[in-house]
Symmetry: C2
Subunit: 271 residues, 2 copies
């Protein structure tokens, strides 16, 4: 599979990379269609935010240029970008002048069942809880053992995604998706100041909803509020929107606002 | 610098490795003296525990054999072992039959100032708090962004280590050390069921203290209890024991139990 390291075709990374040693870096998983990266500016904006918070010096124009060239080679599929702090010495202290490393890996577009988008998905109730770490919350960083543990909780194909709560019991997200509910016409998604990944499609849907005059609330969400929702859906930047139809014995209909935002997401990803 | 991947000299690792993608793995930093890994069985025991908790299948005998051979080549210094879950597909789900990858890297023995052991170290009060995640607590896993952030808080050489509290304000550990206090003749170290790394030297000192009839308590430790301690010291498997002489305006004397355990640690690492 096609992969580049710092702009050149390469299949391996130096053992001295701090991404391997400490998960000291960030990543973006970007859909590629007709040779173009989807939602590119939103991905870059999140990456820039992450780099700022982790003080990783990044040349965003270089990343953009490289992503465009890489996507042109990929054609159709997925481009995963990993940006690490680069090589390190022994120990946690970062080099005074870190030289970040850019890793690009191509993959085929995931073959999700059409049913997921049409009739909705069942959520697996993950026992793995998200720790609360305000310094890392929202970032798509490389410390992802919680997601690995959560995803290992189910193997059946009846559950397309898992629901993750935080240590305090708040509803946060799916293992690889963000979560929204609709209640009394208001679009609600969990605030992610203590845990979770602030997804690119989540940001896009929030912006689109506001521009459409849909009432939006980003807030703490309890499990009871989730169960009492009129509609529930998931999103990410690869599949767009999936209605959630069931969580254990509980079920939800596929609602009109979910369908509306699903069409918007589809249009965004189709262009 | 000497490095092996799966038993063969190699300087790079496949981009498909889950250690890079998600920090999906564990590590051990092992002192090497006279061509032999120090505290080998304790390092292997912790690795085995970590593999069991993360369900990474590991051939411990192979790891032991390889570490012995690697240490013989290194002679004097440090051998860092990274054990990852191996290659993965796209996504958090682990392959059904994971083939873990063994990475060994040599480094020179760290040149710590002699003063640290003799007169004690100043602790930097880190603002970075440790998140509480019982599923990962105690493990020396590859998700180490909290330590990277904490270590970035000071650059001066006046502070040899930083003090880390958890989100709830409990005293947990140093950035790369475990912490003990002595109070009324009792040796106390924080319990690590919600955060922290259960160090190899910590385990060794706890065992030695118990065999010497020293009263030992592994418990939650408040900041107030730390300040009220008679003695405070740090430990890890490379430097042994460092007395802590100061934290901001607070200071502690270097006490007799600290010196006793320091000698024991020195003997363990000298052999």
């Amino acid at each position: 599979m096609l992969s580049w390291v710092d702009g050149r075709p390469q299949q391996a990374v130096a053992l001295t990379d701090r991404g391997l040693a400490y998960g000291d870096g960030l990543f973006e998983t970007i859909g590629v269609k007709h040779g173009r990266p989807q939602l590119l500016e939103r991905h870059l904006a999140r990456l820039a935010d992450g780099c700022q918070r982790l003080t990783i010096p990044v040349d965003l124009n270089l990343v953009r240029t490289e992503l465009l060239a890489f996507a042109a080679e990929v054609g159709e599929g997925v481009a995963k970008l990993i940006l690490t702090r680069g090589d390190g010495l022994r120990g946690y202290a970062a080099p005074i002048t870190a030289v970040p490393r850019r890793i690009l890996q191509a993959a085929a577009a995931p073959a999700y069942p059409v049913n997921n988008a049409e009739h909705g998905v069942r959520l697996f109730p993950c026992a793995t809880r998200l720790a609360e770490q305000p310094l890392l919350a929202g970032l798509k960083h490389l410390n992802r053992l919680e997601q690995v543990l959560a995803r290992s909780e189910w193997q059946d194909s009846d559950h397309a995604e898992g629901l993750m709560l935080d240590i305090s019991g708040r509803v946060i997200e799916g293992v690889y998706s963000n979560l929204f509910i609709v209640r009394d016409g208001v679009l609600v998604t969990p605030e992610l100041s203590r845990s979770g990944v602030a997804g690119v499609m989540r940001a896009e849907l929030l912006a689109q909803a506001e521009s459409l005059g849909i009432a939006v609330s980003v807030q703490a969400l309890s499990y009871e509020q989730l169960l009492a929702a009129d509609e529930v859906f998931l999103c990410n930047s690869l599949y767009g929107v999936w209605p959630v139809c069931a969580l254990q014995a509980h079920s939800w209909p596929v609602g009109p606002l979910t369908r509306k935002l699903q069409r918007i997401a589809r249009d965004l990803l189709d262009c």
